[in-house]
Protein backbone atom coordinates (compact mmCIF):
# COMPACT_ATOMS: atom_id res chain seq x y z
CA UNK A 1 0.00 0.00 0.00
CA UNK A 2 1.28 3.52 -0.83
CA UNK A 3 1.96 5.84 2.02
CA UNK A 4 0.37 8.70 0.08
CA UNK A 5 -3.17 8.91 -1.26
CA UNK A 6 -2.02 10.09 -4.70
CA UNK A 7 0.48 8.22 -6.87
CA UNK A 8 1.36 9.80 -10.28
CA UNK A 9 1.62 6.29 -11.80
CA UNK A 10 -2.09 5.74 -11.06
CA UNK A 11 -3.09 8.28 -13.71
CA UNK A 12 -2.08 5.83 -16.47
CA UNK A 13 -4.28 3.19 -14.77
CA UNK A 14 -7.47 5.26 -15.03
CA UNK A 15 -8.88 2.84 -17.62
CA UNK A 16 -8.69 0.02 -15.09
CA UNK A 17 -11.72 1.39 -13.25
CA UNK A 18 -13.72 -0.54 -15.87
CA UNK A 19 -12.47 -3.85 -14.50
CA UNK A 20 -14.96 -3.92 -11.62
CA UNK A 21 -17.87 -2.49 -13.65
CA UNK A 22 -17.15 -2.90 -17.38
CA UNK A 23 -20.46 -1.62 -18.74
CA UNK A 24 -20.53 1.63 -16.78
CA UNK A 25 -16.79 2.08 -17.35
CA UNK A 26 -17.23 1.71 -21.11
CA UNK A 27 -20.14 4.13 -21.17
CA UNK A 28 -18.16 6.66 -19.16
CA UNK A 29 -15.07 6.51 -21.37
CA UNK A 30 -17.13 6.64 -24.59
CA UNK A 31 -18.88 9.72 -23.25
CA UNK A 32 -15.57 11.22 -22.09
CA UNK A 33 -14.04 10.76 -25.55
CA UNK A 34 -17.09 12.33 -27.21
CA UNK A 35 -17.03 15.33 -24.87
CA UNK A 36 -13.45 16.26 -25.76
CA UNK A 37 -13.86 16.03 -29.53
CA UNK A 38 -13.74 19.26 -31.54
CA UNK A 39 -17.29 20.63 -31.73
CA UNK A 40 -18.80 24.06 -31.15
CA UNK A 41 -15.75 24.50 -28.93
CA UNK A 42 -12.26 23.67 -30.19
CA UNK A 43 -10.23 20.88 -28.57
CA UNK A 44 -7.93 23.60 -27.19
CA UNK A 45 -10.82 25.51 -25.57
CA UNK A 46 -12.13 22.29 -24.03
CA UNK A 47 -8.68 21.47 -22.65
CA UNK A 48 -8.51 24.94 -21.06
CA UNK A 49 -11.96 24.48 -19.49
CA UNK A 50 -10.85 21.07 -18.20
CA UNK A 51 -7.72 22.65 -16.75
CA UNK A 52 -9.79 25.25 -14.90
CA UNK A 53 -12.20 22.62 -13.58
CA UNK A 54 -9.24 20.44 -12.54
CA UNK A 55 -8.10 23.25 -10.27
CA UNK A 56 -11.59 23.92 -8.97
CA UNK A 57 -12.04 20.26 -8.00
CA UNK A 58 -8.37 20.14 -6.91
CA UNK A 59 -7.67 16.88 -8.70
CA UNK A 60 -3.87 16.34 -9.04
CA UNK A 61 -4.36 13.69 -11.73
CA UNK A 62 -6.48 16.07 -13.79
CA UNK A 63 -4.04 18.98 -13.33
CA UNK A 64 -1.20 16.73 -14.52
CA UNK A 65 -3.21 15.45 -17.49
CA UNK A 66 -4.69 18.78 -18.61
CA UNK A 67 -1.49 20.82 -18.21
CA UNK A 68 0.07 18.40 -20.73
CA UNK A 69 -3.06 18.40 -22.85
CA UNK A 70 -3.19 22.21 -23.02
CA UNK A 71 0.47 22.36 -24.12
CA UNK A 72 -0.19 19.66 -26.69
CA UNK A 73 -3.21 21.51 -28.07
CA UNK A 74 -1.14 24.70 -28.48
CA UNK A 75 -2.48 26.75 -25.56
CA UNK A 76 -0.02 29.30 -24.24
CA UNK A 77 1.03 29.87 -20.63
CA UNK A 78 -1.06 33.05 -20.29
CA UNK A 79 -4.20 31.25 -21.42
CA UNK A 80 -3.51 28.42 -18.99
CA UNK A 81 -2.97 30.74 -16.03
CA UNK A 82 -6.05 32.80 -16.96
CA UNK A 83 -8.06 29.57 -16.95
CA UNK A 84 -6.78 28.87 -13.42
CA UNK A 85 -7.82 32.40 -12.40
CA UNK A 86 -11.30 31.75 -13.77
CA UNK A 87 -11.47 28.70 -11.49
CA UNK A 88 -10.12 30.75 -8.57
CA UNK A 89 -12.60 33.57 -9.21
CA UNK A 90 -15.53 31.15 -9.25
CA UNK A 91 -14.28 29.31 -6.16
CA UNK A 92 -13.61 32.61 -4.37
CA UNK A 93 -16.85 34.10 -5.57
CA UNK A 94 -18.73 31.01 -4.46
CA UNK A 95 -17.38 31.49 -0.94
CA UNK A 96 -18.00 35.23 -0.90
CA UNK A 97 -21.51 35.16 -2.31
CA UNK A 98 -22.48 33.19 0.81
CA UNK A 99 -21.61 36.37 2.65
CA UNK A 100 -25.04 37.57 1.61
CA UNK A 101 -26.53 34.62 3.47
CA UNK A 102 -24.43 35.58 6.46
CA UNK A 103 -25.63 39.18 6.21
CA UNK A 104 -29.25 37.98 6.06
CA UNK A 105 -28.69 35.96 9.19
CA UNK A 106 -27.04 38.90 10.96
CA UNK A 107 -30.05 41.02 10.07
CA UNK A 108 -32.39 38.36 11.36
CA UNK A 109 -30.62 37.97 14.68
CA UNK A 110 -29.61 41.47 15.54
CA UNK A 111 -31.50 44.58 16.58
Amino acid sequence: MNNTYYNPADLAKFGKISELQPEMGRKFFDYYEEVFKEGALTEREKALIALAVSHAVQCPYCIDAYSSECLQKGADENQMMEAVHVAAAIKGGAALVHGVQMMNKIKELTM
Partner: protein
Amino acid sequence: MGSTVKSLQGQHHELADSSFQLKVLQAPSRQGNRFPDFAMQLQTHDLYPLQPTGTTILQVNVGKMCNQTCRHCHVDAGPDRKEIMTRDTMQLCLDALQLSPQITTVDLTGGAPEMNPDFRWFVEELSKLGRQVIVRCNLTIILANKKYHDLPAFFRQHSVHVVSSLPYFQASRTDAQRGDGVFEKSVKALQLLNGVGYGMEGSGLLLDLVYNPSGAFLPGSQASLEAEFRRRLRGGYQIEFNSLFCITNLPVSRYLDYLVQSGNYDSYMEKLINAFNPVAAAGVMCRNTVSVGWDGYLYDCDFNQMLDLKVAHGAPQHIRDFDATALDQRDIVLNQHCYGCTAGAGSSCGGETVK
Protein backbone atom coordinates in the same frame (compact mmCIF):
# COMPACT_ATOMS: atom_id res chain seq x y z
CA MET B 1 25.03 36.43 -35.98
CA GLY B 2 25.47 32.91 -34.73
CA SER B 3 24.76 30.89 -31.64
CA THR B 4 27.59 30.64 -29.13
CA VAL B 5 26.17 27.42 -27.63
CA LYS B 6 28.36 24.42 -28.37
CA SER B 7 27.07 21.27 -30.04
CA LEU B 8 27.18 18.00 -28.08
CA GLN B 9 30.20 17.12 -30.19
CA GLY B 10 31.86 20.41 -29.25
CA GLN B 11 31.24 19.62 -25.59
CA HIS B 12 32.67 16.09 -26.02
CA HIS B 13 29.34 14.92 -24.62
CA GLU B 14 28.78 11.16 -24.47
CA LEU B 15 25.52 11.56 -26.45
CA ALA B 16 27.52 12.95 -29.38
CA ASP B 17 28.43 9.31 -29.97
CA SER B 18 25.66 7.60 -31.95
CA SER B 19 26.46 4.18 -30.44
CA PHE B 20 25.88 5.64 -26.97
CA GLN B 21 22.54 7.07 -28.14
CA LEU B 22 21.52 3.62 -29.36
CA LYS B 23 22.51 2.19 -26.00
CA VAL B 24 20.21 4.68 -24.24
CA LEU B 25 17.37 3.85 -26.66
CA GLN B 26 17.79 0.13 -25.99
CA ALA B 27 18.05 0.45 -22.22
CA PRO B 28 15.15 -0.37 -19.87
CA SER B 29 13.27 2.37 -18.00
CA ARG B 30 14.38 3.58 -14.55
CA GLN B 31 11.83 1.15 -13.12
CA GLY B 32 13.65 -1.62 -14.97
CA ASN B 33 10.88 -2.22 -17.52
CA ARG B 34 11.81 -2.93 -21.12
CA PHE B 35 10.10 -0.77 -23.72
CA PRO B 36 8.39 -2.95 -26.33
CA ASP B 37 10.61 -3.51 -29.33
CA PHE B 38 9.58 -1.36 -32.32
CA ALA B 39 10.22 -4.09 -34.88
CA MET B 40 8.02 -6.47 -32.86
CA GLN B 41 5.21 -3.87 -32.90
CA LEU B 42 5.42 -3.80 -36.70
CA GLN B 43 5.40 -7.59 -36.77
CA THR B 44 2.16 -7.59 -34.78
CA HIS B 45 0.60 -5.43 -37.49
CA ASP B 46 2.03 -7.35 -40.47
CA LEU B 47 4.36 -4.49 -41.37
CA TYR B 48 7.64 -6.28 -40.75
CA PRO B 49 10.03 -6.18 -42.50
CA LEU B 50 9.21 -2.59 -43.40
CA GLN B 51 9.91 -1.97 -47.06
CA PRO B 52 9.77 1.00 -49.43
CA THR B 53 6.64 1.72 -51.43
CA GLY B 54 8.74 3.41 -54.14
CA THR B 55 11.26 6.21 -53.73
CA THR B 56 9.99 9.60 -54.90
CA ILE B 57 11.94 11.89 -52.56
CA LEU B 58 15.69 12.30 -52.17
CA GLN B 59 16.50 14.10 -48.95
CA VAL B 60 19.99 15.54 -49.02
CA ASN B 61 21.70 16.72 -45.87
CA VAL B 62 24.26 19.18 -47.22
CA GLY B 63 26.05 19.67 -43.90
CA LYS B 64 25.81 20.05 -40.17
CA MET B 65 26.91 23.67 -40.00
CA CYS B 66 24.22 26.00 -38.68
CA ASN B 67 23.94 29.51 -37.26
CA GLN B 68 21.64 28.18 -34.52
CA THR B 69 22.08 25.53 -31.83
CA CYS B 70 18.49 24.48 -31.17
CA ARG B 71 17.88 22.43 -28.05
CA HIS B 72 15.87 19.77 -29.87
CA CYS B 73 18.17 19.37 -32.90
CA HIS B 74 18.54 15.72 -33.90
CA VAL B 75 21.50 16.63 -36.14
CA ASP B 76 23.50 18.24 -33.30
CA ALA B 77 24.07 21.05 -35.78
CA GLY B 78 25.71 24.34 -34.88
CA PRO B 79 28.34 26.90 -35.82
CA ASP B 80 31.06 24.55 -34.57
CA ARG B 81 30.11 21.70 -36.92
CA LYS B 82 32.32 21.60 -40.01
CA GLU B 83 30.88 18.60 -41.90
CA ILE B 84 29.87 19.98 -45.29
CA MET B 85 28.88 18.26 -48.55
CA THR B 86 31.35 18.94 -51.36
CA ARG B 87 30.39 19.95 -54.90
CA ASP B 88 31.69 16.55 -56.07
CA THR B 89 29.19 14.74 -53.84
CA MET B 90 26.44 17.10 -55.00
CA GLN B 91 27.35 16.18 -58.57
CA LEU B 92 26.93 12.49 -57.63
CA CYS B 93 23.44 13.37 -56.34
CA LEU B 94 22.65 15.08 -59.66
CA ASP B 95 23.95 12.03 -61.58
CA ALA B 96 21.76 9.75 -59.45
CA LEU B 97 18.72 11.94 -60.07
CA GLN B 98 19.31 11.91 -63.81
CA LEU B 99 19.05 8.11 -63.71
CA SER B 100 15.96 8.22 -61.47
CA PRO B 101 13.09 10.15 -63.06
CA GLN B 102 10.69 8.69 -60.44
CA ILE B 103 12.33 10.94 -57.86
CA THR B 104 10.36 14.12 -58.31
CA THR B 105 11.34 15.97 -55.14
CA VAL B 106 14.70 16.88 -53.65
CA ASP B 107 14.53 17.96 -50.03
CA LEU B 108 17.58 19.95 -48.87
CA THR B 109 18.32 20.01 -45.20
CA GLY B 110 21.20 20.56 -42.79
CA GLY B 111 22.29 22.37 -40.54
CA ALA B 112 21.41 25.52 -42.35
CA PRO B 113 21.70 24.27 -45.95
CA GLU B 114 22.28 27.82 -47.18
CA MET B 115 25.66 27.87 -45.35
CA ASN B 116 27.09 25.27 -47.69
CA PRO B 117 29.28 27.28 -50.14
CA ASP B 118 27.86 25.30 -53.09
CA PHE B 119 24.23 25.54 -52.00
CA ARG B 120 23.13 27.97 -54.71
CA TRP B 121 24.94 26.06 -57.44
CA PHE B 122 23.24 22.86 -56.29
CA VAL B 123 19.76 24.45 -56.27
CA GLU B 124 20.34 25.85 -59.77
CA GLU B 125 21.42 22.45 -61.09
CA LEU B 126 18.49 20.69 -59.41
CA SER B 127 16.20 23.28 -60.88
CA LYS B 128 17.60 22.58 -64.37
CA LEU B 129 16.73 18.91 -63.84
CA GLY B 130 13.14 19.99 -63.34
CA ARG B 131 12.80 18.56 -59.83
CA GLN B 132 10.78 20.21 -57.08
CA VAL B 133 13.32 21.57 -54.61
CA ILE B 134 12.43 21.88 -50.93
CA VAL B 135 14.74 23.94 -48.72
CA ARG B 136 14.43 23.53 -44.95
CA CYS B 137 15.26 27.12 -44.07
CA ASN B 138 15.65 28.06 -40.41
CA LEU B 139 14.56 31.65 -41.26
CA THR B 140 17.20 33.45 -39.16
CA ILE B 141 19.87 32.59 -41.74
CA ILE B 142 18.24 35.15 -44.07
CA LEU B 143 19.17 37.90 -41.59
CA ALA B 144 22.43 36.36 -40.33
CA ASN B 145 24.71 38.01 -42.84
CA LYS B 146 24.40 40.41 -45.77
CA LYS B 147 25.29 37.60 -48.20
CA TYR B 148 22.06 35.80 -47.26
CA HIS B 149 19.70 38.79 -47.49
CA ASP B 150 18.75 37.96 -51.10
CA LEU B 151 17.76 34.36 -50.31
CA PRO B 152 14.01 35.07 -50.64
CA ALA B 153 14.58 36.36 -54.18
CA PHE B 154 16.87 33.40 -54.97
CA PHE B 155 14.23 30.96 -53.69
CA ARG B 156 11.57 32.66 -55.81
CA GLN B 157 13.77 32.54 -58.92
CA HIS B 158 13.97 28.75 -58.63
CA SER B 159 10.41 28.21 -57.31
CA VAL B 160 11.89 26.60 -54.23
CA HIS B 161 9.36 25.23 -51.76
CA VAL B 162 10.41 26.81 -48.46
CA VAL B 163 9.77 24.84 -45.27
CA SER B 164 10.64 26.69 -42.09
CA SER B 165 10.65 25.81 -38.42
CA LEU B 166 8.59 27.97 -36.14
CA PRO B 167 7.77 26.02 -32.99
CA TYR B 168 5.37 28.61 -31.61
CA PHE B 169 3.60 31.84 -32.43
CA GLN B 170 5.19 33.57 -29.43
CA ALA B 171 8.78 34.32 -28.42
CA SER B 172 8.68 32.38 -25.13
CA ARG B 173 8.57 28.85 -26.46
CA THR B 174 10.30 29.61 -29.78
CA ASP B 175 13.35 31.12 -28.07
CA ALA B 176 13.41 28.40 -25.38
CA GLN B 177 13.86 25.83 -28.15
CA ARG B 178 15.83 27.75 -30.78
CA GLY B 179 17.79 30.43 -28.89
CA ASP B 180 17.32 33.98 -27.63
CA GLY B 181 15.97 36.41 -30.20
CA VAL B 182 15.11 33.72 -32.74
CA PHE B 183 11.38 34.46 -32.73
CA GLU B 184 11.84 38.15 -33.54
CA LYS B 185 14.25 37.37 -36.37
CA SER B 186 12.00 34.57 -37.66
CA VAL B 187 9.09 37.01 -37.85
CA LYS B 188 11.21 39.47 -39.87
CA ALA B 189 12.37 36.67 -42.18
CA LEU B 190 8.80 35.47 -42.72
CA GLN B 191 7.76 39.01 -43.58
CA LEU B 192 10.60 39.18 -46.12
CA LEU B 193 9.48 35.87 -47.65
CA ASN B 194 5.89 37.16 -47.80
CA GLY B 195 7.30 40.32 -49.39
CA VAL B 196 8.52 38.40 -52.47
CA GLY B 197 5.27 36.43 -52.65
CA TYR B 198 5.95 33.36 -50.50
CA GLY B 199 2.82 32.09 -48.76
CA MET B 200 0.65 34.63 -50.57
CA GLU B 201 -2.50 33.47 -52.29
CA GLY B 202 -2.13 32.93 -56.03
CA SER B 203 1.67 33.32 -56.06
CA GLY B 204 2.36 29.59 -56.41
CA LEU B 205 5.29 30.09 -54.02
CA LEU B 206 4.93 27.65 -51.14
CA LEU B 207 5.89 28.62 -47.60
CA ASP B 208 5.11 25.93 -45.05
CA LEU B 209 5.88 26.10 -41.36
CA VAL B 210 7.07 23.30 -39.11
CA TYR B 211 5.81 22.96 -35.57
CA ASN B 212 7.89 20.91 -33.13
CA PRO B 213 6.72 20.91 -29.51
CA SER B 214 9.04 22.92 -27.25
CA GLY B 215 9.19 20.30 -24.53
CA ALA B 216 8.39 16.73 -23.62
CA PHE B 217 4.92 16.54 -25.13
CA LEU B 218 3.46 15.39 -28.43
CA PRO B 219 2.03 17.70 -31.08
CA GLY B 220 -1.73 18.21 -31.09
CA SER B 221 -3.95 18.05 -34.15
CA GLN B 222 -2.26 19.61 -37.18
CA ALA B 223 -5.47 21.20 -38.49
CA SER B 224 -6.25 22.81 -35.15
CA LEU B 225 -2.70 24.09 -34.60
CA GLU B 226 -2.54 25.38 -38.16
CA ALA B 227 -5.71 27.41 -37.60
CA GLU B 228 -4.32 28.84 -34.35
CA PHE B 229 -0.93 29.67 -35.92
CA ARG B 230 -2.68 31.40 -38.83
CA ARG B 231 -4.87 33.44 -36.51
CA ARG B 232 -1.97 34.49 -34.28
CA LEU B 233 0.62 35.15 -37.02
CA ARG B 234 -1.83 37.02 -39.24
CA GLY B 235 -3.31 39.00 -36.37
CA GLY B 236 -0.02 39.79 -34.64
CA TYR B 237 2.46 40.14 -37.48
CA GLN B 238 0.53 40.14 -40.81
CA ILE B 239 2.33 36.90 -41.74
CA GLU B 240 0.85 34.49 -44.28
CA PHE B 241 1.85 30.87 -44.86
CA ASN B 242 0.45 27.85 -46.68
CA SER B 243 0.43 24.88 -44.30
CA LEU B 244 1.68 23.97 -40.87
CA PHE B 245 3.46 20.61 -40.56
CA CYS B 246 3.39 19.05 -37.10
CA ILE B 247 6.53 17.03 -36.46
CA THR B 248 7.01 14.90 -33.37
CA ASN B 249 10.41 15.26 -31.72
CA LEU B 250 12.35 12.01 -31.95
CA PRO B 251 14.59 10.91 -29.08
CA VAL B 252 17.82 11.48 -30.99
CA SER B 253 20.88 13.61 -30.22
CA ARG B 254 20.12 16.93 -28.47
CA TYR B 255 16.43 16.15 -27.93
CA LEU B 256 17.47 12.84 -26.37
CA ASP B 257 19.88 14.79 -24.17
CA TYR B 258 17.05 17.17 -23.17
CA LEU B 259 14.77 14.23 -22.28
CA VAL B 260 17.44 12.54 -20.19
CA GLN B 261 18.58 15.76 -18.47
CA SER B 262 15.03 16.87 -17.65
CA GLY B 263 14.02 13.43 -16.32
CA ASN B 264 11.36 13.10 -19.03
CA TYR B 265 12.91 10.28 -21.07
CA ASP B 266 10.89 7.34 -19.69
CA SER B 267 7.55 9.16 -19.71
CA TYR B 268 8.16 10.49 -23.24
CA MET B 269 8.96 7.02 -24.57
CA GLU B 270 5.80 5.76 -22.85
CA LYS B 271 3.79 8.51 -24.52
CA LEU B 272 5.18 7.58 -27.94
CA ILE B 273 4.60 3.86 -27.39
CA ASN B 274 1.08 4.32 -26.02
CA ALA B 275 0.26 6.47 -29.05
CA PHE B 276 1.57 3.87 -31.55
CA ASN B 277 -0.75 3.92 -34.56
CA PRO B 278 -0.44 1.13 -37.16
CA VAL B 279 -1.99 3.37 -39.83
CA ALA B 280 0.75 5.94 -39.20
CA ALA B 281 3.32 3.12 -39.26
CA ALA B 282 2.15 2.10 -42.74
CA GLY B 283 2.62 5.67 -43.98
CA VAL B 284 6.08 6.50 -42.60
CA MET B 285 8.25 8.66 -44.85
CA CYS B 286 11.17 6.21 -45.02
CA ARG B 287 8.99 4.17 -47.39
CA ASN B 288 9.22 6.82 -50.13
CA THR B 289 12.43 8.67 -49.21
CA VAL B 290 16.15 8.00 -49.35
CA SER B 291 18.37 10.22 -47.24
CA VAL B 292 21.89 11.22 -48.31
CA GLY B 293 24.49 12.26 -45.75
CA TRP B 294 27.01 15.09 -46.21
CA ASP B 295 29.63 12.49 -47.19
CA GLY B 296 27.34 10.73 -49.69
CA TYR B 297 26.33 7.70 -47.60
CA LEU B 298 22.71 6.56 -47.83
CA TYR B 299 20.20 6.18 -45.02
CA ASP B 300 16.50 5.41 -44.62
CA CYS B 301 15.89 8.84 -43.05
CA ASP B 302 17.66 11.83 -41.53
CA PHE B 303 17.22 10.36 -38.03
CA ASN B 304 18.89 7.08 -38.99
CA GLN B 305 21.61 9.20 -40.57
CA MET B 306 22.33 10.91 -37.26
CA LEU B 307 22.39 7.53 -35.51
CA ASP B 308 24.84 6.23 -38.15
CA LEU B 309 22.36 3.53 -39.20
CA LYS B 310 23.12 3.20 -42.91
CA VAL B 311 20.71 1.48 -45.32
CA ALA B 312 20.62 -2.30 -44.93
CA HIS B 313 23.53 -4.38 -46.19
CA GLY B 314 22.99 -5.50 -49.75
CA ALA B 315 21.49 -2.17 -50.81
CA PRO B 316 23.74 0.48 -52.43
CA GLN B 317 25.52 2.25 -49.56
CA HIS B 318 26.75 5.42 -51.27
CA ILE B 319 25.25 7.95 -53.67
CA ARG B 320 27.91 7.03 -56.28
CA ASP B 321 26.27 3.57 -56.46
CA PHE B 322 22.69 4.89 -56.32
CA ASP B 323 20.16 2.51 -57.82
CA ALA B 324 16.54 3.31 -56.99
CA THR B 325 15.29 -0.13 -58.04
CA ALA B 326 17.80 -1.92 -55.81
CA LEU B 327 17.10 0.48 -52.93
CA ASP B 328 13.37 -0.16 -53.23
CA GLN B 329 14.02 -3.83 -52.42
CA ARG B 330 15.73 -3.09 -49.09
CA ASP B 331 14.44 -3.69 -45.57
CA ILE B 332 14.26 -0.40 -43.67
CA VAL B 333 16.54 -0.25 -40.61
CA LEU B 334 14.50 0.17 -37.43
CA ASN B 335 15.19 1.11 -33.85
CA GLN B 336 13.32 2.47 -30.82
CA HIS B 337 13.40 6.11 -32.04
CA CYS B 338 11.05 5.02 -34.88
CA TYR B 339 8.18 5.23 -32.36
CA GLY B 340 8.39 9.00 -32.94
CA CYS B 341 7.09 8.69 -36.50
CA THR B 342 4.24 6.31 -35.64
CA ALA B 343 2.64 8.12 -32.70
CA GLY B 344 -0.88 9.51 -33.04
CA ALA B 345 -1.51 10.94 -36.48
CA GLY B 346 2.07 10.09 -37.48
CA SER B 347 5.02 12.33 -38.17
CA SER B 348 7.20 12.99 -41.19
CA CYS B 349 9.11 15.88 -42.72
CA GLY B 350 5.76 16.76 -44.33
CA GLY B 351 3.88 16.65 -41.02
CA GLU B 352 1.09 14.24 -40.10
CA THR B 353 0.90 11.09 -42.21
CA VAL B 354 -2.64 10.02 -41.30
CA LYS B 355 -5.10 12.22 -43.13
